[in-house]
Assembly symmetry: C2
Homo-oligomer: 423 residues x 2
């Protein structure tokens, strides 16, 4: 009997368009290396330096020796051996959260994960108990959230969003609809600060109202805050305003620390009925998924925190200025190249990595390939953030990785493509 495998006989997630879309984008980047990529949401690279990895490792080891008073065998064991499932740098992360986010997190509520992606998976794996369970999320939403939901078989129930982020009236409406349909709403995923893909932020009254809605309806909020530092001003995170344990905070160091460390975390201080915290349940799941996050990778992030007084705002002073400059330049270049064409519009975020453009023609993967091949520019069709069910007149530009010259040239090429499609 043949063991040749058919994708239809594998887990349903593998046949979902969402899981293939990221592959397609990566393939295009590989296929057209000369194209200017305004697609990838990667952090700026100019300050990367391999010596920093050594410095960060050394700083963490010094912290273990002198701050924690560990003997050299214990220092070595911390880095080399299997370690605690929840991780070894929870206290340092808690100090960072106090410093940068005004969040008072008990170290035992922190689970260090393999990037924010694993944190999302763990929370959804814990919350998805049976076929009734659904997760609310704004449309459009981050593809990583969609992917984690697919892997855990929890359906994503979309909520409208607008220029202020998630639409709170629609949120309460969708909770009602979902419950009428016999569903159990376990949580709502939300990125209040410069969300991927729209870069919109929620204003302060909306944050308070969202917390009230969550508490009133007994819904957890899963707060993703990967971009909060990268704005001209800061609003308090949901977690820092939370007084009812409604918020599970999904932490990322990919943009603020180092993507290559693949270190993130969840803060899950929700009390379990039988004692302990939701973090302890996530830790049990993690033990069976990745055992523990590499302590070497954790040490790299810890070293960066230690060498910057626990402030990633401080550590990213130069990067924040560059992202702000790039964002302003992108918006002014769009104005210059496309301003006269009033049928083309775009939003004007004040921070984050992205700008959304709306055009009067269909933006699909075919157009993207045409853009890469014939115009030498890459972007992300917005339908990828709607699970293929919307956004067919929008595209996302990423501004984080480029120099001013490449932004100018990229917008020029994009404008040529767009203007050529206008009537």
């Amino acid at each position: 009997m043949s063991t040749q495998l058919n994708v239809e006989a594998l887990h349903g997630s593998l046949a979902d368009p969402a899981i293939s879309s990221m592959n397609l984008l990566n393939e295009l980047i590989d296929e057209y290396p000369a194209a200017i990529s305004m697609a990838a949401g990667r952090p700026y690279e100019e300050f990367f330096d391999v010596r920093l990895i050594h410095d960060y490792l050394d700083a963490y080891c010094e912290h273990l020796r002198h701050g924690r008073k560990l003997a050299e065998t214990a220092v070595t064991r911390t880095l080399f051996q299997y370690g605690a499932t929840k991780g070894v740098i929870a206290e340092l992360i808690a100090r960072n959260l106090a410093e940068d986010e005004g969040i008072d997190a008990a170290p035992e509520s922190v689970v260090v994960t393999v990037g924010c992606q694993e944190a999302m998976f763990l929370v959804l794996r814990a919350l998805r108990a049976d076929d009734r369970d659904v997760l609310l999320a704004p449309a459009p939403t981050y593809v990583g959230l969609t992917g984690a939901a697919l892997l855990t078989d929890i359906p994503v129930w979309p909520v409208r969003s607008d220029e202020n982020g998630i639409d709170l009236d629609d949120l309460t409406h969708q909770v009602k609809l979902a419950r009428e349909a016999g569903k159990r709403v376990r949580a709502c995923y939300v990125t209040p600060d410069f969300a991927n893909p729209t870069a919109t932020s929620m204003d302060l009254p909306s944050r308070h109202r969202l917390l009230d809605i969550a508490q009133d309806h007994g819904i957890l909020l899963l707060e993703d805050n990967a971009y909060g530092l990268f704005g001209s001003e800061r609003l308090p995170s949901l977690k820092s305003l939370d007084r009812s344990e409604s918020v599970v905070y999904l932490g990322s160091f990919a943009k603020t620390g180092m993507p290559g460390a693949r270190v993130g975390y969840a803060v899950a201080d929700q009390q379990m009925a039988g004692g302990g915290l939701l973090a302890d349940q996530l830790s049990k799941l993690k033990g069976m998924l990745t055992v523990n996050t590499s302590p070497i990778a954790q040490a790299v992030i810890a070293g960066k925190l230690l060498l910057n007084d626990f402030s990633l705002t401080k550590a990213n002073t130069r990067e924040i200025a560059i992202y702000q400059r790039n964002l302003r330049l992108t918006l002014s270049e769009l104005d210059r190249r496309l301003g006269p064409h009033t049928e083309v519009t775009w939003n004007t975020p004040t921070g984050g990595f992205f700008v959304t453009i709306t055009v009067p023609f269909v933006v699909d993967d075919e157009l993207l390939e045409h853009a890469a091949r014939d115009h030498g520019v890459l972007f992300t069709p917005m339908h990828h953030f709607y699970g293929g069910k919307g956004g067919f007149h929008q595209l996302r530009l990423s501004i984080s990785l480029l120099t001013p010259e490449l932004i100018q040239e990229g917008v020029t090429r994009l404008a040529a493509l767009i203007i050529g499609r206008l009537h």
Copy 2:
């Protein structure tokens, strides 16, 4: 409405005894730090040295600069930035597999994972399509396999095992029974070399017969080979004998490389009906689970391979000698302390980290706590490897982490406990 959470409302895995058992063991180790632990299957620590991490990182960077001819910006980007989902060291792993295992693995069939645990999860997530799917595994079996199966909702269907590993007659019988029960047998997990927990190995004719059974019945074999190097002699791995793409190889560097790197891999060269390899499907799932394995962690393992001519057998010369010495010493001490008591028996593996002892009384977690508290010795009750459904007269001793003095003292303490329970 309160958001206090009840474990019964969370995913079923969290209420399973298997997922709690590892927590219990860790708690006991913390609670009785003075007890001699013959419980943890951790690698020997004496040769750990923080400077090695720097050396390994440097060796990999040199390889990128001179072997791969990358510019410094590309070297830095490889370590700092998001990277390929399948990983960046597949070619080096393929060279290691050729060197140590006689396995001819195409680099594109390799997916680098966050430890072997993530590789197990990815394979089971891919294979579990619906409620009909089951996974065969020998009883007793590695708890990590049980955990990954719980997270993917795939039931483990047990197969008998004996002193030659999995019982092949029972395997064909169980395939028949499962199919009669309307189940779809997706794969059989097996550790042919010094399996955890029994340290038994399959002889060569059995390996060939197992491959024939897999091919005849169209079942994948998931080969875990975490301990293969640690014996007095080596038999060929299933994957090296496989001529029909029946074997998915689950690779671990935790015992042979460095546990703290948390790097493992899957070799999945099975052809998909629509083109591509099973590895490509695993990669899609990984992108939604952990995005990619930390390239810094991968670099550490790569450096160890590069500095040891791609041979982990060579890199572990001293460790292999120590594990062999510890195993012989443990067996001779058991003989000395318990030999006269013929109602107590144990197996005599020729490699690996473990010895199994069979006693004429119940070995449960209560006995373990008594052993820790009153005798100062820790072991692993074997029922943890049967999912709580067997093994109640057995215990597992681990020999990997201890000095000769601690082995002698540990066996002395254990013998006192056991003899005190004999009539």
